[in-house]
């Protein structure tokens, strides 16, 4: 039969509704997937190189510019790494709470963007949220208002939504008065209602029947759902401090990508992000998030990557509910930052960006000059797992037409909210069936 010997190529040269520039390429020999490449061709920007020689105090401002969608993740990871190098710990108190609150703002903004503007159109058959709004204006407007609540939180604490200016090593330049935060409460309460409604409608979407079992890796924080700190833990027994990252995870440079690929030594690919966090830490969620997930029938672990849209919605409930609790408990500290004196040392920082774990390592000199910098973004950690996902999705969808299969592949990539700008340190989808 010619069907078994035919070579099919499925490719997309410009992946849409992802952050940054990527493409995919899938080659099928008959009914076997012979090649899968997620190609990230975002031009390199060399952050780790030009950080050498800069001052340790400059990292929150500079590394924010790696990503316009998750600058706070870069700011908090880098600040924590520098504090670690200088022997300072900010693990409780109002400065840590404010950092977590700012980070909740970024989760709300980024997840609302992904769920409503990048991911939902796939399930409902639209090319964009703007097209979707012609038929479902109210839903899209609600999503945008939830996103706006996250941005408002970032603006009050951080000064602005993209590249906040108020994060420094040691804390903040200025801390808000309680009244400045209280004005956010109404919008956050509405956002929390929208988040609960989002869990309900996303859980009723139609999902392709796919089960994938990558090793899930996430931070685990004894104090709550992981955001701003924690040990690096997996569902296959990994349990390490961020300082041990290099002993367990290696990065490799492959020819088809300007992003480095990370893998676990002796084990291979792994997945970070909402699915991994939910698998490893759902028990640490706030009661409202757990209850909403239970009502929607979302079990943990969640092994269907297409259902990541539901997990993100549950994380939106978590982030809005936690933000409200943090505002309620907030007491303005006397000092906006703790003093951090540089010393010759190496420091590590790992936090949970909306799309997965982000790791920073810096070596600094006694006057605070950066000698070496290493930044491992979530998408370069996920790149192999996404390719493996893609392979499994294609293998289970062979009877689709080329057009349908291309769309399915693109959707399989968007399931993981890849951020190519960050990882270029991402992926070009070409389905090559010959």
């Amino acid at each position: 039969m010619s069907e078994t010997s035919r070579t099919r190529t499925i490719r997309t040269d410009y992946l849409a509704r992802v952050e940054g520039e990527g493409a995919m390429f899938v080659k099928l020999d008959g009914r076997e997937v012979s090649e899968v490449k997620l190609r990230l061709y975002e031009p390199p920007r060399f952050f780790e190189a030009f950080l050498r020689g800069r001052s340790f105090a400059e990292v929150p401002d500079i590394t924010a510019r790696i990503c316009g969608i998750c600058p706070v993740a870069y700011q908090i990871s880098s600040a924590r790494a520098m504090e670690d190098a200088c022997g300072v710990r900010i693990d409780d108190g109002p400065i840590r709470d404010l950092r977590r609150l700012l980070y909740c703002g970024e989760w709300i903004e980024s997840h609302s963007l992904h769920v409503y503007m990048l991911h939902a159109p796939d399930f409902l058959g639209y090319s964009s949220a703007i097209e979707m709004a012609r038929d479902h204006r109210e839903i899209v407007e609600q999503g945008l208002q939830m996103k706006k609540a996250g941005n408002a939180l970032m603006t009050v604490i951080g000064g602005r939504e993209v590249h906040p200016i108020n994060v420094r090593v040691g804390g903040f330049y200025r801390v808000p008065a309680p009244a400045e935060l209280r004005v956010l409460v109404d919008a956050l309460e509405r956002a929390r209602e929208t988040a609960v409604a989002t869990v309900r409608w996303t859980s009723m979407l139609e999902f392709p029947d796919v089960e994938i079992e990558p090793e899930h890796v996430a931070l685990v924080d004894p104090d709550g759902y992981p955001i701003d700190r924690g040990r690096i833990v997996s569902d296959h027994g990994l349990d390490i401090e961020p300082a041990e990252f290099d002993e367990h995870i290696v990065e490799e440079h492959v020819e088809h990508s300007t992003a480095l690929h990370a893998r676990l030594r002796r084990r291979g690919s792994y997945l970070t992000g909402p699915l991994a966090r939910y698998s490893l830490a759902s028990a640490a969620m706030r009661a409202l998030a757990r209850e909403t997930a239970r009502e929607a029938g979302l079990s943990a672990p969640c092994r269907n990557p297409f259902q990541s849209i539901v997990v993100r919605a549950v994380e939106l409930v978590q982030a809005t509910d936690e933000a409200l609790a943090l505002i309620d408990a907030y007491e303005q500290p006397d000092a906006a930052a703790v003093e951090v004196e540089p010393r010759r040392a190496v420091g590590h920082g790992a936090t949970e960006a909306p799309r997965g774990m982000l790791y920073h390592r810096y070596e600094i000199d006694e006057d605070g000059t950066i000698l070496d910098a290493r930044i491992v973004p979530p998408t370069s950690q996920n790149q192999r797992a996404i390719e493996e996902d893609l392979r499994a999705v294609v293998q289970s969808s062979l009877d689709l037409s080329d057009e349908e299969l291309t769309l399915r592949c693109e959707q399989a990539i968007r399931n993981h909210d890849p951020c190519i700008s960050c990882s270029t340190h991402f992926l070009d989808l070409t389905v090559d069936r010959g």
Partner: protein
């Protein structure tokens, strides 16, 4: 078509962090009505449907760092009626223009195990170094209110109201006490282009110049005032607008000292 159809908008990305095009999606209250007035014809980050050019107006984010992108920007120019650059990367080369002061092969070896796989130019240059630009909007990131003003001015055939004076003027209008005079905090406000709304001084820190140089900046005078060492001044001017002419000259002057 000359029929009274909607004008078309395209959004393009070159080397950047995506933050400036995200500002379009951050117009939560205006995005849908904007789409009622303009056809968003090409915007890969937001839509998988693309309409073929030409386009009435193009917003360009990012700087030129590869040969392929140097060719692509010429094609974008040819297919655009009005071309507007958004942000410090497109307008001045961005933070990646720090390579212009260094050895790129060395940079590549620091970040990548197999530098042979990497193809890049030795410089990061603004869009205006390659094609004619109709309007440049400063900022790292841009201010979404200014972006809306620029788009609205274009729709109404008028010049955008975007002032080129310094951040100092914005502090005065905001009623912020000068951090340099009152606290002795180093601040690039006097030489930096307005537009952000003078956020940093309102948060008790000095301006770090993310909107690039104002019109006719007097960097030498400010630097003499600042009390900073030359090496610190080099760093101050070499951030997100390191390639902007006035900041480039200032950093090179301090490097020679």
């Amino acid at each position: 078509m000359d029929a009274p159809g909607k004008r078309t908008l395209a959004v393009w990305k070159f080397a950047s962090c995506d933050g400036c095009q995200l500002s379009v999606l951050d117009l939560e209250d205006e995005l849908l009505s904007l789409a009622d007035h303009l056809e968003i014809a090409y915007f890969i980050e937001a839509s998988s449907a693309t309409v073929e050019g030409p386009y009435d107006v193009s917003l360009v984010e990012g700087s030129i760092t590869t040969l392929h992108d140097a060719e692509r920007i010429r094609a974008v120019r040819e297919s655009s009626g009005t071309l507007i650059t958004i942000g410090a990367c497109a307008t001045a080369g961005g933070i990646q223009a720090l390579r212009n002061f260094a050895d790129v092969e060395e940079f590549s070896r620091v970040v990548y195990a197999s530098p042979d796989y990497i193809s890049t130019l030795t410089t990061s240059t603004p869009i205006s170094a390659h094609v004619n630009v109709d309007f440049e909007l400063n900022g790292c990131p841009i201010n979404k209110r200014q972006l809306l003003e620029v788009i609205s001015a274009h729709l109404n055939h008028r010049r955008p109201r975007v002032r080129a004076h310094s951040v100092c003027v914005e502090c005065k209008r905001r009623g912020t006490v000068c951090v340099m005079v009152a606290q002795g905090t180093a601040c690039l406000g006097p030489v930096t282009h307005a537009g952000c709304g003078a956020i940093c001084p309102a948060y008790d820190r000095g301006c770090y110049g993310c909107y690039g140089p104002k019109e006719t900046p007097n960097t030498a005078s400010l630097d003499a005032w600042s009390g900073l060492e030359d090496q610190d001044l080099v760093r101050k001017y070499r951030t997100f607008n390191a390639g902007a002419e006035a900041f480039k000259r200032a950093s090179e002057a301090h490097e020679r000292n």
